[in-house]
Structure formats: structure tokens, C-alpha cells
């Protein structure tokens, strides 16, 4: 017996020695461990901010970017003519700006600012960057967000190949003066100049490596509070303080590590274990607990709406009464409070809160609730409409399918809507989840009857939502075609102030009265920032800015 056990031990040892003999690659690890501890210590000293960006940006080149993740990074590495601080627009690279009386010509006077390599930021850099966004033959690819510059005279023509880039009305008068002429007075143009597509880039830097310069620490020259100093694909982007930033005195953080932790629950664990300072994507099921227990949990507004779209060409939702009945028969408050749980607000219109009109009033408030009751379903009215449409108590209602892109939260909401329609109207709909790209494709091509959709605003004006429903918009997934609506939107582009907003209100009235969408809720953004991080900023459009933040 003893001999047997001995044999066993020997066999085991044999195995271990032979196998470990092949792979002794663990020697470097103690050192790595030290360096890890070093980073944490630095954090405690208060100079490193660790922030979960979550997804890897496709690009962090200001003109090429069109996504939120890239936008967060660019907002910290570059600086435009203006910058939003504490919700207010402040001059940044532009020291001042003159606007002509007709509101068409803007003359920006630049301050003495420098790039991270010490060279001055000039008006030519802006001219180059803006025209770059409009270049239809841009290498590596045309800018997806070029439309953000279409307010400028000649911009759209150049981008669509109908005009020359030289004719676009962007001119650097001298090193410090930039003149821009617009097609029509655009009240939010100044705000746009703080948006990433409008941030300057340097010709000599970009042209050396058009595809990769922004990501490459050796070539990434920027003019914002931070500069890219390391980039590990799928892992992290490291930003360090830019000593040459014009407002460098205000920058208190030495280093930012932007991580790409996709799994929300892992990021939350890391946050709770003090390994992360900033997160803004939280697992839905944890929100009630965090709300109750964690004082750093906060719900921020987010300019966006979650809604269902009707395909106006498909039976039975080609009938406005059916669309209205379906819209009235759901309880939005219950969906927000019992299912979404992230502090979302019941949506009664298409334009979300956070966008103001000419008088400084909330567009969403002034537009009103239309026929929707934010606090519950209007069952009687819905039933009556459905009966008028020929389906009393849901009898004879054809079988239809609601499609949504695969995601737990979408599924839960779709099931609730399905149940409410069944209870309140006596109709049964099928649900079908589709993978993201498949769902997009179905929506764009009109291969659906009812589909889940959502839209987040790009700039602080209701137009960012409303131009979706222009008959020629590439995003008009409802397949809706309305001349009156087109006229209101087009007309508003030529007007300013109250008159302009008069048309915008009318436009939203048209689309809401025809009921092409069924609004469900207005988005919110639950987020958590450690208490020791002070003075961080989040813009109205939801971009982080740490250029004035500090860590205690």
C-alpha cells in the first residue's frame, strides 16, 4: 500500500517535471507585478484617472470619427474653437468671434495656442481640417459625419462631388483669423464648432500617415488637454497631460487610462474594487441596488428617444387609427419604472428633453404630450380607434411581428409591450429578435411591420432629431413620405429665432399626428464616478471631459 502511494507520487512528479519543462515562461511576472502595484500607488497619489471607455473606437481621428466612444477620447485630446464647460459654451481656441448682421458670416479670432509638439495652432489648421471632412476622396475613407458641416456655404456640394473644395466658404485670412460663411443663419453653429468633426488637425501630421496617425503615440499630435501616449488594441488608450495645451494650468490629471472592458458586470466589479474611477455603462439588473446603496451612482440626462417605428406601407399599420391605438395602449410609466429601471422618462413626443427653443424653453415641454398620457395607457380611446379601424376587441387583427435587435433590455420591453397590447386591445403580436446588423438592414429596407428603434442627438438642437423624417433622409425607416413635413423642415433652415422654431414645432406636430412612431421613453445615462474625482464634465451631448478634473 505504501509502495502504491509512493508510485503515485512519483508518477505525478514525473508528469509535472516533463510538462513544466516545456513551458517555463513565468519568470518575468514578478516584475510585472511590481509595475502594477506602482500604477495603483500613483492612483492613490491622485494623478491617474482610470476610466472605462467600454468599446474600442473605430478611430480617434476627429474628422473620421462618427461614434460616441471615439468622441469621448477626441473631446479630451483635441480642442475646437469653442468648448462646452458646465453646460455653457465658452471660447476655447477662438478668443473671440464676430458674427455679421445677417448671421451668415462668422469671423473667429484665434488665441495663441500650441500643438502638443509646440508648434502654433493656426487658422489654416482649422481650414484644413474642415475641408478634410468634406473631401469626398479623403484617404482612408470619406468622413461619415461630414453633414455636420453642411451649414457652411458650398460644403454639401463639395462633399457630393458637385462642387470644388476650394469653393467652400472657409478661409484662413491670416494665421489667427478664420472666416466662415453659412448658407443660412444657424443659431447653433457656434455650439457645433465644439463638436469633434470641427476640431483642428495638422496637415503635415495627417499626411504622413493618413490612416493611423491619431492612434500612433509617435505621430498623434493634438491640441487638447491630453495627448495619446500609448495605444493597445482592444485593451486601453493611455492619455497624458499635454504641457503645451493653452489652458494647461487647469489640467490637474497627469494620466488617463481609457479601458475597453466590454462586459458591464466586470467593469462594475472593478469599480467597486476601486480599480476603476469612471463608468457609464451599468448592468440594468444592478441599477436598483446601486441606486439604493452607492452614493456615487447618478442618473444623467441623455438627449435621445427610445421608440417603435411603424412601416406606413404595411397592413395593418398603414391605417393611422391602428397606429394610434397601439400607441395609446401601452403604459410607459410601468415600462420605465418596472423594466428599464434606469430613471428613464416616459416619452410623449419625438424630441427629447435637453433641447431648447429660441426662448430658452424646453422644446419637449412646449411641444406637449400630444395624445399620450405619460402615466398610463388610454385603453378606452385605443379600443375605440381599433374598432373604428375594423378590429373590434382585436377581432380579425392580422398576425404581425415586432422586430428588435438582440439585447436583454429590448427583449424585456418588447415582451411588456406585447403583453399590454394583448391585455388592453386583445391583439396578439409575435416578437422576433434579430442580430444588430440584420435588424438595421431590415429597417432600412422596410422589411418589417413594427420595429424597435432609438435615436441619440448629435448636437443641441431639435433638428438633430427631426431631420430624420425628411422624405429623402437615409434614416427614414418608417418609409414615410410627407411633403408638408419636408417643407416645414426646409423652411426652418432659412429662418431664425421664433419663426424657425415655429416651423420646427409644426413639423413635430405633423409627424406625431400621423403617428409614424410610437415613443416609449427618453433615454437617461446612469453613471458612476468615484468621489475623489472632482470637477469632471459631461457635455449635453454626453461626452466626457477631464481637462479640468482633479483627483484628491
Amino acid at each position: 500500500m505504501v509502495r502504491r502511494s509512493l508510485t503515485l507520487i512519483l508518477v505525478m512528479m514525473l508528469m509535472i517535471t516533463t510538462v513544466t519543462g516545456c513551458g517555463g515562461n513565468n519568470q518575468t511576472e514578478p516584475q510585472e507585478n511590481q509595475s502594477e502595484q506602482a500604477t495603483r500607488e500613483e492612483t492613490k497619489e491622485g494623478s491617474v484617472l482610470i476610466w472605462n471607455l467600454r468599446t474600442e473606437p473605430k478611430t480617434i481621428d476627429p474628422q473620421l470619427n462618427s461614434a460616441a466612444d471615439g468622441g469621448h477620447v477626441i473631446n479630451n485630446t483635441f480642442e475646437g474653437l469653442m468648448r462646452e464647460i458646465d453646460g455653457k459654451l465658452q471660447p476655447a481656441i477662438a478668443e473671440s468671434c464676430d458674427v455679421s448682421e445677417d448671421g451668415l458670416t462668422y469671423t473667429f479670432h484665434l488665441r495663441d495656442a500650441k500643438w502638443s509638439d509646440g508648434k502654433p495652432v493656426t487658422a489654416q489648421d482649422f481650414e484644413y481640417a474642415w475641408k478634410r471632412a468634406l473631401d469626398p476622396n479623403l484617404v482612408p475613407e470619406p468622413a461619415e459625419y461630414a453633414f455636420q458641416l453642411f451649414y457652411i456655404k458650398g460644403a454639401q456640394d463639395a462633399y457630393e462631388g458637385k462642387g470644388a473644395l476650394e469653393d467652400v466658404a472657409i478661409t484662413a485670412k491670416d494665421d489667427k483669423t478664420l472666416e466662415v460663411t453659412l448658407n443660412a443663419p444657424t443659431p447653433y453653429f457656434l455650439a457645433l464648432t465644439g463638436f469633434y468633426t470641427y476640431m483642428p488637425v495638422r496637415a503635415d501630421v495627417v499626411e504622413k500617415d493618413p490612416e493611423n496617425w491619431a492612434r500612433n503615440p509617435e505621430k498623434a499630435i493634438s491640441n487638447g488637454p491630453f495627448k495619446v501616449t500609448a495605444y493597445a488594441m482592444g485593451d486601453r488608450i493611455v492619455l497624458e497631460r499635454n504641457e503645451n495645451y493653452w489652458n494647461a494650468d487647469k489640467v490637474k490629471i497627469d494620466k488617463i487610462e481609457a479601458l475597453m472592458i466590454v462586459e458591464e458586470s466586470t467593469a462594475l466589479t472593478a469599480y467597486e474594487a476601486d480599480e476603476l474611477d469612471v463608468i457609464d455603462q451599468l448592468p440594468v439588473q444592478e441599477i436598483p441596488r446601486l441606486k439604493a446603496e452607492d452614493p456615487t451612482f447618478a442618473i444623467w440626462p441623455q438627449v435621445g428617444t427610445y421608440y417603435y417605428i411603424f412601416n406606413v406601407n404595411k397592413k395593418p399599420v398603414d391605417d393611422i387609427r391602428v397606429r394610434r391605438a397601439l400607441t395609446l395602449a401601452i403604459d410607459r410609466k410601468a415600462i420605465c419604472e418596472k423594466i428599464a429601471k434606469g430613471g428613464q422618462l416616459p416619452a410623449t413626443g419625438f424630441t427629447p428633453p435637453g433641447l431648447l427653443d429660441a426662448d430658452g424653453n424646453e422644446f419637449q415641454k412646449v411641444a406637449g404630450d400630444y395624445y399620450i398620457d405619460p402615466n398610463g395607457a388610454k385603453i378606452e380611446e385605443a379600443k375605440k380607434l381599433l374598432a373604428e379601424a375594423g378590429y373590434p376587441d382585436g377581432k380579425g387583427f392580422p398576425e404581425i411581428t415586432v422586430i428588435y435587435n438582440t439585447q436583454e433590455a429590448n427583449k424585456a420591453i418588447a415582451e411588456a409591450v406585447q403583453e399590454m397590447w394583448k391585455q388592453n386591445l386583445g391583439i396578439h403580436v409575435k416578437l422576433q429578435n434579430q442580430e444588430w446588423a440584420v435588424c438595421q438592414d431590415a429597417r432600412h429596407h422596410g422589411n418589417f411591420t413594427i420595429a424597435r428603434a432609438g435615436w441619440l442627438g448629435d448636437y443641441a438642437d431639435p433638428m438633430t432629431m427631426l431631420d430624420l423624417w425628411l422624405s429623402y433622409s437615409g434614416n427614414n425607416d418608417c418609409q414615410w413620405n410627407n411633403k408638408e413635413y419636408d417643407e416645414f423642415i426646409e423652411g426652418s433652415k432659412l429662418l431664425t429665432g421664433k419663426e424657425r422654431f415655429g416651423l420646427l414645432y409644426k413639423a413635430q406636430d405633423v409627424m406625431m399626428e400621423t403617428n409614424i412612431v410610437m415613443p416609449i421613453y427618453y433615454y437617461t445615462r446612469p453613471l458612476m464616478v468615484k468621489e475623489r474625482v472632482k470637477d469632471w464634465q459631461r457635455t449635453k451631448m454626453g461626452h466626457w471631459f477631464f481637462g479640468q478634473a482633479s483627483i484628491e
Partner: protein, 306 residues
């Protein structure tokens, strides 16, 4: 032996060609393309993008061009990451996945095989019962549950392990266990059952009757034969584990190949999807070949002629 390898390499080539063709066809058959966006792209941009990636060419042309690139070892540019080639993505992702995968394979072999042997020698004793109880547990718990449990218990509750990334040796513990847990249990069970079978054979009885020490009987005579099914399993396992696991990489936020692969499916990043599939396929067929060669080394009776 030489002829065997030549034959096998030839059939490997055909397998790879089939893999490439089928993946290519399936990929283009699913709805939605690489430039399907929430905010629709203007037609001019769409055209420029398609031209850039040769998507405006007829399908057969794209196929031929792609095949030509693969033969030269060029897997093309990523559609979704500006300025990144698929080769670069694999170059950066593979070592990370392979490091974790390699450690997992070691774990599987170092622990799995001896546990199986002990269980077999102590059949139906408490050692065996305990080991098999754990092994059954290990086979039934999926890696995402195991990974989440590890994070929950050791990172969130006890604070012993970090929850993401790969900075120190401590970071490796969770992912390696989560990744290797299933195979470890499986290998232990496999070793045990094949060991039991071998121990009952006549030649073992003969060896014992000759008065050979238990060490020689088990270590020299029984183990070799008992390991054949294990080798069969471990070959493809190495290919599968080293090329990255999406689940484990996602849970532990590891920037490996598995993460890139699954993201490429969602993004319709055709070239990345194809590139990683081909890389995996090559890895797999090579491992299967190695397994077949190993058979011959363990048991000379297995002929290489077929």
C-alpha cells in the same frame, strides 16, 4: 512517414480551401453589410467605401482576389478599424490568447492526467469519488458561469484577485481556471476511464506477475496506452484554447483573438472574420496532424500508411 505527411499536407490544403469557400459564401449570405449603420451613410460615401474594399466587384472576383491574398499571407485590411490590417490584429491578439490558453493547457495536463490516474488506481475509494464529483461539476459548469463566479467571489467579495486585464500573475488565475476548467475535468475523467480499461488488460497482469514494481507497471506500461484518447482530445483542444475564447476574454476584459473574432461577426468585418477563421483552421489541422504523429510515437503499432 514522409509520404504520410505529404499526403496529409495535401488534404489539409483541400480542407482549408473548403473552409475559406464556405466561410466566404456564408458571410456574404447573411443580411447586413459592413457599412450598415444606425445612421445611414450617404450614397457617395457608401460607394467610396465599397470601392476601397473592392466590394463593388462581382462576388467571384472578390473571392479570387481574396484567395490570392491568403496564399501570399496577406489577410487584408479590417473594414471596421481604420488603418488596421487583419495580420496586425492577429499578431497582437494571438500572443495574448495563446499565453492564457497555453497556461490553461498546462493546467489541464498537470492536474487532469494525474487526477485521472489517481482516481483509476483508487477506484471507488474516497479519492476517486471526490475527484469524480469535482470533475462532473467541472464538466457541467460552463466557462461563463465559472468566470463570473470567480470574479464575484475572489474579486468582488474577497478582493484577492483583480477583476480585469493582464498586468500581473494574479490577473492570470481567473481566466486560466475559467478557460481550463471544463477540459481539466474532462481530461481527468477520460484518463480515469481509459486507465481503468488498460489496467484490466492481460499485459498489465503479466507485467505485475513478472514482479515489476508498481511504478514501472503504471508509469511505463499502462500510462502510454491510457494516454491515447487523451492525446486525441488534447490536440484540437490546444488549437481551440490557444486561439482564444470569446466568453472568457469578454468576462475578464482580455484583448485577445476571441474578442476580435466575435466583434467581427457583429460588425460584419468580413476580412477579420475570414482571417481569424483561416488562422484557426490552419492551427486545427496542424494540431490534428501532430496528434496523428504522436500516436505513432506512443504506440508503434499504429501505422502511418493510411
Amino acid at each position: 512517414m514522409g509520404r504520410f505527411i505529404v499526403n496529409r499536407v495535401f488534404s489539409m490544403g483541400i480542407t482549408l480551401l473548403l473552409v475559406i469557400t464556405i466561410t466566404f459564401a456564408l458571410m456574404h449570405a447573411i443580411p447586413g453589410g459592413p457599412f450598415t449603420r444606425e445612421k445611414a451613410l450617404p450614397p457617395a460615401v457608401m460607394k467610396a467605401l465599397e470601392a476601397k474594399f473592392n466590394l463593388d466587384q462581382p462576388l467571384w472576383r472578390q473571392y479570387v482576389d481574396y484567395l490570392g491574398g491568403v496564399i501570399k499571407g496577406d489577410l487584408g485590411p479590417s473594414f471596421q478599424r481604420t488603418g488596421v490590417t487583419v495580420n496586425k490584429l492577429i499578431e497582437e491578439g494571438f500572443p495574448i490568447s495563446a499565453k492564457i490558453g497555453g497556461l490553461s493547457v498546462l493546467l489541464v495536463l498537470i492536474l487532469g492526467v494525474p487526477i485521472g490516474i489517481i482516481s483509476a488506481l483508487k477506484q471507488n475509494k474516497w479519492q476517486d469519488q471526490l475527484a469524480m464529483f469535482l470533475a462532473t461539476l467541472g464538466v457541467t459548469i460552463p466557462s461563463f458561469v465559472l468566470g463570473t463566479l470567480i470574479i464575484y467571489i475572489f474579486s468582488a467579495k474577497l478582493g484577492w484577485l483583480p477583476s480585469y486585464g493582464l498586468k500581473s500573475w494574479k490577473h492570470y488565475i481567473g481566466p486560466v481556471i475559467a478557460l481550463g476548467g471544463f477540459s481539466l475535468s474532462f481530461v481527468a475523467r477520460l484518463t480515469r476511464s481509459s486507465m481503468l480499461e488498460v489496467l484490466q488488460q492481460d499485459y498489465i497482469r503479466t507485467a505485475r506477475a513478472k514482479g515489476l514494481s508498481e511504478f514501472v507497471v503504471v508509469g511505463k506500461h499502462a500510462l502510454k496506452n491510457a494516454l491515447i484518447p487523451v492525446v486525441t482530445y488534447v490536440g484540437p483542444l490546444v488549437a481551440a484554447i490557444l486561439t482564444g475564447s470569446f466568453v472568457v476574454e469578454k468576462i475578464f476584459a482580455i484583448p485577445g483573438m476571441g474578442k476580435h473574432f466575435v466583434e467581427s461577426v457583429g460588425n460584419r468585418d468580413y476580412t477579420v472574420l475570414m482571417g481569424i477563421t483561416i488562422f484557426y483552421a490552419i492551427f486545427l489541422v496542424v494540431m490534428v496532424l501532430l496528434v496523428d504523429i504522436t500516436y505513432g510515437l506512443i504506440d508503434p503499432r499504429i501505422k502511418m500508411d493510411e
